[in-house]
Symmetry: C3
Subunit: 151 residues, 3 copies
């Protein structure tokens, strides 16, 4: 094992990164579930085994599928920056409790974000969970830049 | 060179990451090729040099362009998690043969995924190549978490 | 602080990565701004506080919102590969001036890309800024692979 993986903060970072990346990847089977249950597909070959008259009907968009796709994209736009910024943050030597606080808040906010998005919870549920996640990432970025900076 | 780049597993990780990231980035010129050959553009300024009557006709979507865009997005959704999880996996000290197996399976599955997607191969070509790639990433994530975990 | 964060090239990489990731994340409030100013929302719960007759009118797409979304996605497709390739490049021990050149060109090109995209500058402004960014990323990838390679 490399030295990095003996560092507590780095291990905490790895754990929470894997949690949020797994959450991101789970959006794919959720999308598949909605595509099948709503009968809304994007590609001709995906409905190739159906009778011809049914095929055209199934090549369509559905609000629920589009919702889960937007949620997936929003995850990409937020989880990936978190992991990249978190990596630099973990390497910049923060205290373990401060680091854990950032990682837990982010992971919690994104899990709640997905639930609010897919469940169409009334606003500001989704907006707030989104903002809390952004705040955690921005706080880590600020932390790194306040320690090291070469322009 | 840093110590990490003297580690065989890390070098293998770097090699395969660069291969799949390059594959991801190649989707951009492929999209451009389809936009030009199909005459389907998204932005007014992209058709600004054409005669006025032609412009409106070219500001449209085309199934082939949308297909390649979906393929590009699917790559983002899978290649980026692979590289992020793979980084943690490479740092967790796996055996070189096991690591190479993961990396090669993932890279192969994604190259085949792109070919199946753009070529509209009958299912389950695309679905299987997608699932094989996901399995490689999930296996690496599981491997890391089974070694180190701080919640 | 870890040893990596004492390495000048790695600190420069961290600085520029955080700059371009921040730029990527700023696309979210810009999208929100366009959604509110153009009155074009994607989710029913986002317009839940409006009178019923207004709601349906606001659940629509708007060219300006779609433009900023395309810009956001293009950023994801380019900034994330830059950071991932740049990480490996920074670890491969380049000279500081060469590394800074790559990082600055990329950061500059992406900032100009966003301005050209949102401002709908005449082509080839956006195309060139996109290509310059890609060139910086590809050059770093080539650099790494020319030093280390295990297939």
């Amino acid at each position: 094992m490399t030295d990095l993986m003996r560092d507590e903060v780095f291990v905490a970072f790895s754990t929470y990164s894997l949690i949020v990346i797994t959450k991101l990847m789970i959006m794919a089977p959720i999308t598949a579930h909605y595509r099948f249950s709503r009968g809304a597909f994007a590609n001709e070959e995906d409905v190739g085994h159906k009778p011809t008259e049914e095929r055209k009907k199934m090549l369509r968009t559905h609000p629920d599928v589009e919702r889960v796709c937007r949620c997936h994209l929003n995850d990409l736009e937020n989880v990936v920056p978190f992991v990249l910024v978190g990596l630099l943050y973990a390497l910049s030597g923060p205290e373990l409790p401060a680091a854990l606080l950032h990682f837990r808040i982010f992971a919690g906010s994104r899990i709640f974000h997905t639930i609010s998005y897919i469940g169409a919870f009334p606003q500001p549920c989704r907006a707030l969970s989104f903002l809390v996640g952004v705040a955690a990432t921005v706080s880590m970025a600020y932390n790194v830049l306040s320690k090291v900076l070469i322009l």
